[in-house]
Symmetry: C2
Subunit: 221 residues, 2 copies
């Protein structure tokens, strides 16, 4: 019987895609509010190209944006954009049913864990900001495991937990990095249909619209 539940964070526990889009929009609005001589359309389209070229984790998006558009006094607008972007990113909230569902699962005796790609500090920061850090017994981040979420990642997590695959359930939004590799490692999988990949077909053992369906799913195991 399953005792351990592993959760992804982004677009599983909170609307990551929506917050990222909002953070970028608020950053451009802040630049305009301080008097930058460009319209939202121009800024937005240039920023989109930069993100496509450099990736979404590139730390100098707004410096690059000002450089490409030949903006004078770039520090002023970069500071405004970064402040607005950061304020949005630090105001993240969990999906509505998340805190009470996590509490219910703890009351039912499950061990709850995080299995996420990313850097440790950033992923811990999200759990803290979301106000749900207390529910998780351990947090496994790809940076610490030494590999991004693949079958080997999940085998290493099982080893560190001292658990059999049959003891575990993996809950995530992405077919490619949550469901497929966990399934290959023998773990029961629950796909949450949220975020930008919600329409990707699923081979998960279960699908759910949100994590409040988990208690019912666990009863059916």
């Amino acid at each position: 019987m399953a005792k351990y539940i592993l959760f992804d964070i982004d677009d599983t526990l909170f609307p990551s895609t929506e917050f990222s889009a909002l953070a970028r929009k608020n950053a451009l609005t802040a630049m305009i509010r301080l008097g930058i001589d460009k319209d939202h359309e121009t800024l937005s389209s240039a920023l989109k190209s930069i993100i496509e070229e450099k990736g979404s984790n590139y730390p100098k998006h707004f410096d690059e944006l000002c450089a490409r558009l030949g903006v004078e006094m770039p520090a002023k607008y970069v500071a405004a954009a970064v402040a607005a972007y950061h304020d949005t990113k630090t105001s993240i909230q969990p999906f509505p049913k998340v805190p009470l569902t996590l509490l219910k699962l703890k009351e039912q005796g499950y061990g709850l864990f995080i299995a996420t790609n990313g850097t440790s500090i950033k992923q811990w920061d999200k759990l803290i900001r979301l106000g749900i850090v207390v529910y998780f017994d351990r947090v496994f981040v790809s940076e610490d495991i030494g590999r991004t979420k693949d079958e080997g990642f999940f085998r290493e997590v099982l080893k560190r937990l001292g658990a059999q695959a049959s003891d575990c359930i993996m809950v995530g939004d992405r077919e490619d990095i949550d469901i497929a590799p966990a399934k290959s490692a023998g773990i029961v999988t629950v796909r949450i249909l949220k975020g930008r990949y919600a329409d990707v077909p699923s081979k998960a053992d279960f699908v759910a619209k949100a994590i409040d369906e988990l208690p019912d799913i666990l009863q059916r195991l």
Copy 2:
């Protein structure tokens, strides 16, 4: 007659020293709240040593703190500390009389400028967070000028403004980097008695407890 007023930022326009102390305190409290196995005294004393050794702008204070104290799962506590520290630093407010005084000076026809040590993005960020960025015609940061505030810094600022020293007033809290070098460059100086250096004896042309005394001082020139 003076037309241009140059302002320092930290401990002149907002209580920088107080906010820095509060940010550090809140960071340590956040670590304890997440269950770090150390008391406030131990954390505070180790952090103080690190700041003394590495300087207050060292970006890895909390990583170093966890390393020195042999803390397990450092990413969790570093994330908590950085979040609390950052939240405090982004909630800075100007000294009470600052916004209305700046507005009054603008209404009286003065050009207002910033002359500050630091990195451009950080100093712009403070002005934006303080909600007073609109009052300043130009912002001169040591990083852009290429030297920290000394006589040469102020001479370069005068050059960029196309102004005579007699056109200008410098307002700041520090005798060593605000008052003395501005005075050497021939600028009239006003020392604001705020922050950790409030008790240092002054050779400024005027001293004031807060910047709302400026309109009166300007009338006496």
